[in-house]
Every structure is written in C-alpha cells, then in structure tokens.
Amino acid sequence: MLSRSLKIGIVCPYGWDTPGGVQNHVRDLAEYLIAAGHNVSVLAPVIDESKIPTYVTSAGKPIAIPYNGAVARVLFGPIAFARVRQWIAQGDFDILHLHEPAIPSISLLACWAADGPMVGTFHAAAKRQKAIFAIGPILEPVIEKLSARIAVSEAARETLTEHLETDAVVIPNGIYADRYRDGVAQEKWQGNTLGFIGRFEEPRKGLSVLVDALPIISRFAPDVRIFIAGPGEADEVIKSIDPQLRSRFTFLGRISEQDKADFLASISLYIAPNTGGESFGIILAEALAGGATVVASDIPAFDSLLDHGRYGELFQSESSTDLAKRVIDLLRDEKRRVELGKAGKTHAQQFDWKVVADQIFSIYEMSLVGGEKVRLTSESRSWSKFLGRESKGDD
C-alpha cells in the first residue's frame, strides 16, 4: 500500500516538548511514516532545541496563550513566518501535512506561504464561537488551499462545517494497539479497582466528578480502590478528598508504556469523567485496546468513540450520582463487565496506526494526482524579493 517513497513535510502547531494530543499524534505519524520508508521532516515550535529528534526542525520558541479552555503553546510572528518559508523552500516536499491550520500558529503560516499538494488535519472540537465567525473571512481563502481536510472525529468535523463551512474526511487518531494488547494483570491493581490516566490537575479531565462519586460507590463496594496515573501535583487533589476516603486513592505518577498495558489489563473499570474539550479521546482508545472496561462521560467525542455505549458504559457528563450508579452496576455484573471489555478491545483495533496511517496515506496519494511539488506561493515569493529576503540555500 505504501508504495513509493515521498518527501513529506508535517507542521505541528504546538510546542514539541510540551505534552499534548496533537504533538503525540504528529510524533507517532512521523515515526510510522519514516519506518515505512518515507522522508519526513516535522516543523514545530521547540523550547529546548538540544533534545529534539533529528527529523524535527525548530521554528522558534513557543508563546503561551489561552485557547479553548487551556493554555496553548503556539508560535507566530515575522521571524517564525520567515523560518516557515525557508523550511518550505529548502524542503522540496512532495506534500505538506498541516495540523490544526485554523489556529494562530505555524500551520496557518505554512498554509499561507505554500502552494501545491497540502493536507490539513483538524483536531479541535469546540462549541460555536462568535470570534471564529469574525475571523472566518480571513481564514477562508487560506484554508481552501488545502486539497484535502481530515477531521479526527465526528465532533471535530462538525466544528469545521459549522465554523468554516467546509467538509472533511473523518480519520481517527492513531494508537499503537499492539503495545497495549498483551498486558499482564498485576495483583496489586486487581479487585474492585477503578483506574484513571491523565493530567488530573486540569479541571476538564473531570477527576473531581470521580472524587465526588466515591462516597456513594464505597457504600456499595466497601473495598473499592482508585488508582490515578499521570503527571501532576497530587497534594491539591488529596486535600479535596474526604479524609475518611483518602486511603483509597493511590497516585502512581507518570507510568511507562509497559506499566500502562499491565495497568489496563488489571483494573476492573477505567473511568473517563472528562467534562469537555476533548475531540477524540486517545486515552480512551488506548484503554479499550488494553482490554479495560470503560465508563466514560457522554460528551460527543466519547459517545461516538464508544458507538453510543456499545463498547463501553456512558454516564451523564458531570453527574457524580450517575457515574456512581453505573460503576456499581458494572462491579456487580461480572459477566457484562467482561463482555464490554472484550468488545471494546476488538473495536479498538481500527484505531491502530497500521489502519490509520494507511488511510492518511491514501489521502496523500489523492492530493498528489496533479503531480506538482510544494513550493512557495508566487505572492509570497515576490514579497520576499521586494523585501530582499529571498532565501538562498543555507543561512
């Protein structure tokens, strides 16, 4: 399927060395394509240039701005724009793959500066925002240069059609499903245990919903324990927990991939109480691939990932009582719990990189039909000449 070797340029809008779903997606995709024999270069904002892999080119230090309910580390400005143009001019790419070209960062700049086969992937799912309608007329001529648009979920696609009146092909985020397939159940995590993985300090990850549900759950399942994995300061969260129940919480910190596989194979239920801001739910897909039975909030991304509850239990978002009820029901019904876990594991195979990267690559092939290469736009070239900034080889 991955027939001929291509020169692929990928632009990541967020700081490469800060944690985040888009960054992980770009890294995994780039590494998968390199392993398949392609020549890949990633352009990203970078904080510490000494610690980046060889295929990444730094576009400069990211700037932190509040965006979509979190702090986004993006990059723009004349110097960044010059670097983007230089990267495009020197890269001699067959195709550009721009991630999140609708947010103010280097993907948008690259889309503005380049001409030729370009594919854009839209990750974010956001509610209707007036601001986006205001900047729509500016974005439109830029976004419509993309020969194909990919949305990572139905929610992301709806956001795109609503805000920019353009359609997209849905290709889910990728996971390495086989990394989580063969986890060994560890006794220390077994029993009536609930698992949670993620940056638990962020309110939108919804850990507080789970904390509030615990008093009810522990009344019906006295031996219930909760394991929380992920980076962050646990002290603040522990203070918010009823002192009598504090002993039931264990914070594991950041865990390795191998531990994650074992963790997912051991716990009784994986809880995803996210209250929003989630477009696809990569961690949920990984939990399914690891064979965990999942209880997730019914936000649009999770609802479609779990196919309206076929591959995991859904509870009313932000409702601790509903969460508690579903958890208790599943802990009591061993048969149903095991069945859900099995169904979910099979379902998760379609998110494996083997499947996903093939789909992305066939979009590349479709955009390449014209047979041209990526180059700087003529406007951009004449401006560079005018300003005497035409890049001549290395600087």
Partner: protein, 167 residues
C-alpha cells in the same frame, strides 16, 4: 493632495485585492481539476474491475450482461451525465454482490477485495471533489468575482451528484 494620496492608496489596495482574489479562484479551479482527475481515474479502475467481474465465475449470464452494459456506459458518459451512469454501475454491482459473495473462490475473492478497497477510496474522492466544487461555485457567486469576471473563461465546475450511494 491628501485625498489624492488616500485615493491612490485605496486604488492600490483594491488592485492588490483583485489579483489576490483572482489567484484564489485560479487555485480553486486547479483543485477541482485535481480532485476530478483523481476521482476519474478511480472510477475508470472500478469500471475495469466491473468488466473483469462480469467475465468471472461470480456473474451469471444475465447479470454479466447488465454489468458489462453499465460499465461501458459509465466509461463513455460525458461529464454532465457521468454521475448518473456511475450510479447505474453501482446499482448493477450492488445487485450482483448482494447474493454472489458466498460462492467466491480465491481469484474472485481477491477481485472483490480490490473492489471494496476501491469503493472506500472512491467514497473519499467524491467527498473531496464535491467539497472543491461547492467551494468554487460559492466563491464564483460572490459579488466581486462576478462583477470583475475574475473567473475569465473557465467553465463552471459541474456538481457530481451521487455521494453516499457508492455500493
């Protein structure tokens, strides 16, 4: 003097906007051509596979006849009638595959697998093409593009009708 400079600047900006818009439209036309070329080549391949299926063991004489006729019609249709002809081919293939799947032998099975892979691609190609066409039509309909005839002599892209009924 001041008003003169102001007007000159305004005129310059306007001229820049016109060339910018013309480039934008040109790019859109180009996108339509590319997406159509892509869709066309996939559809041609599908017609070829349909002919092969018609000649294989899967098809009984009657459906072979139907399939061959549909494939030829799809290949020869002019662009305006293309989607109708292709829908006809989809229908013919659908009729055959609805009950022919069980008796497939290895050779035929690989033919059918190729067809289903192709169908997935065609579905995406149609989505890409439809998006390019609607976008172009939308932009061409804007006041400034119509008034200054920025489209020049380029023909208005043809909407491709069938979207979801590919098998």
């Amino acid at each position: 003097m001041k008003t003169f400079i102001f007007l000159a600047v305004l005129l310059l900006v306007f001229i820049w906007y016109l060339t910018f818009s013309a480039t934008r439209l040109d790019r859109l036309h180009h996108r339509v051509e590319t997406s159509w070329a892509n869709l066309d080549s996939l559809l041609q391949r599908r017609a070829a596979i349909a002919l092969e299926i018609a000649r294989s063991e899967i098809a009984d004489p009657a459906s072979a006849m139907l399939l061959t006729a549909a494939a030829y019609q799809a290949r020869e249709a002019v662009i305006e009638k293309r989607s109708v002809a292709e829908s006809g081919l989809s229908g013919a293939l659908g009729l055959l595959l609805a009950d022919g799947q069980s008796s497939a032998r290895p050779a035929e099975a690989s033919l059918l697998r190729e067809l289903s892979e192709l169908t997935d691609k065609i579905r995406i190609a149609i989505a890409l093409h439809v998006d390019a066409v609607t976008r172009t039509q939308l932009v061409r309909n804007k006041f400034i593009f119509r008034t200054f005839r920025l489209a020049g002599t380029a023909p208005l892209p043809v909407t491709y009708e069938f979207e979801s009924d590919v098998l």
